[in-house]
């Protein structure tokens, strides 16, 4: 029983756990050629383009890569400021 507890507590110290976490990022990068830096640039450019047409909450913009099986997808979450509330808020 103590061994099981030990194992759960030490899970994040496991070399296999470390390997898996590292591999997730490595494979994502290998498959998409995208890294954090490129994602930041992409986010800034998207904000630029979209704000020309609609007012958005720039600080809340999120861009993420989602994975399903061997498929990768860019997910952009861009909150729009409601037109009616702008002056009141």
């Amino acid at each position: 029983m103590t061994r099981i507890l030990d194992r759960i507590l030490n899970r994040q110290e496991n070399s296999a756990y470390k390997a898996k976490e590292r591999m997730k990022l490595i494979l994502l990068h290998d498959r998409t050629n995208l890294n954090e830096k490129v994602l930041e640039v992409l986010k800034d450019e998207l904000i630029g383009v979209i704000s020309r047409h609609v007012e958005i909450d720039e600080k809340a913009v999120r861009i993420e890569i989602s994975q399903q099986g061997r498929e990768q997808r860019l997910i952009a979450d861009i909150p729009i400021r409601a037109a009616g509330r702008r002056r009141i808020g």
Binding site: R7, R11, N14, A16, K20, M23, I26, L27
Partner: protein, 267 residues
């Protein structure tokens, strides 16, 4: 029925392509299928040694492609398994001596006479890999539970999909159960989750593989070896049977028996 062409590849070298090719082919031949193995690793031939047929080579793959002999003359028949044949790689040439279309033509000539054609791919993603994958009906990727092998496997799976030779099916080789238990080796589940492809087989680490290879006898013909059993299971799955994946936690041998006994006794 015309043969299915199976290419076994990995990207990284040394993960078990040749061993897997020899053993799955031998296991299928032992079940009565007519099987031919082609060693596509030109310049670094090894499938002949693993199968114990190295003394019988007269002609090789490049001799066939360049017309110095007929296909039949380059096919070595295994005396233990009369339905198993080998077409060896050339040792003194390089990969550019054969093209992907040569491989397609060769396999088309072999198809009517066989049930299965196995191609042992060289490591890497260059010409040799493209030769090996060109005629494939089924692509098998083999890897080890180790970061560099998994990364290369992912790359190769992507290339197989790009060549429209997918979906790739995965074999995880050399799983060390005791290390997985301690959390010091990626488990089969971890590797499968990372690579996200269909699983074809799990092979435990087994010293019997080296011993069999020393003797030139495929371990799949050894009824007592766990790796041999795992290779026979893969052969059965290729035949369309539903074979459950091996319980890798279960230990064989005397201590395994005892621990199983205790587990049963203790509930």
């Amino acid at each position: 029925m015309p043969a299915k062409v199976i290419t076994i590849t990995s990207g990284k070298g040394g993960v078990g392509k040749t061993t897997a090719t020899a053993n799955i082919a031998a296991a299928l031949a032992a079940l009565g299928a007519k099987v031919v193995c082609i060693d596509a690793d030109i310049g670094l031939r090894n499938l002949d040694v693993v199968l114990g047929l190295e003394n019988r080579i007269v002609y090789d793959l490049v001799d066939v492609v360049e017309g110095r002999c007929r296909l039949r003359q380059a096919m070595i028949r295994d005396k233990r398994l009369p339905e198993l044949y080998l077409i060896p790689a050339a040792q003194t040439r390089d990969k550019s001596a054969v093209s992907p279309s040569d491989m397609v033509r060769l396999c088309d000539e072999l198809r009517p006479e066989f049930d299965w054609i196995f191609i042992d791919s060289p490591a890497g993603i260059e010409r040799g890999f493209r030769n090996a994958i060109a005629p494939a009906d089924i692509s098998i990727v083999i890897t080890n539970p180790e970061v560099s092998a998994v990364r290369d496997a992912d790359r190769i799976i992507g290339l197989i999909e790009a060549e429209e030779k997918g979906p790739a099916r995965l074999i995880i080789n050399r799983i060390k159960t005791d290390m997985v238990k301690k959390g010091d080796m990626l488990s089969a589940e971890d590797v499968l989750e990372l690579l996200a492809v269909e699983l074809l087989g799990l092979i435990p680490e087994d010293e019997g593989v080296i011993i069999s290879t020393n003797r030139g006898v495929p371990v799949a013909l050894d009824g007592k070896s766990r790796a041999g059993q795992a290779f026979r299971n893969i052969a059965s799955r290729l035949n369309g049977e539903q074979v459950p994946f091996m319980e890798l936690e279960e230990q064989s041998g005397f201590f395994g028996q005892i621990s199983r006994f205790w587990r049963k006794g203790g509930g």
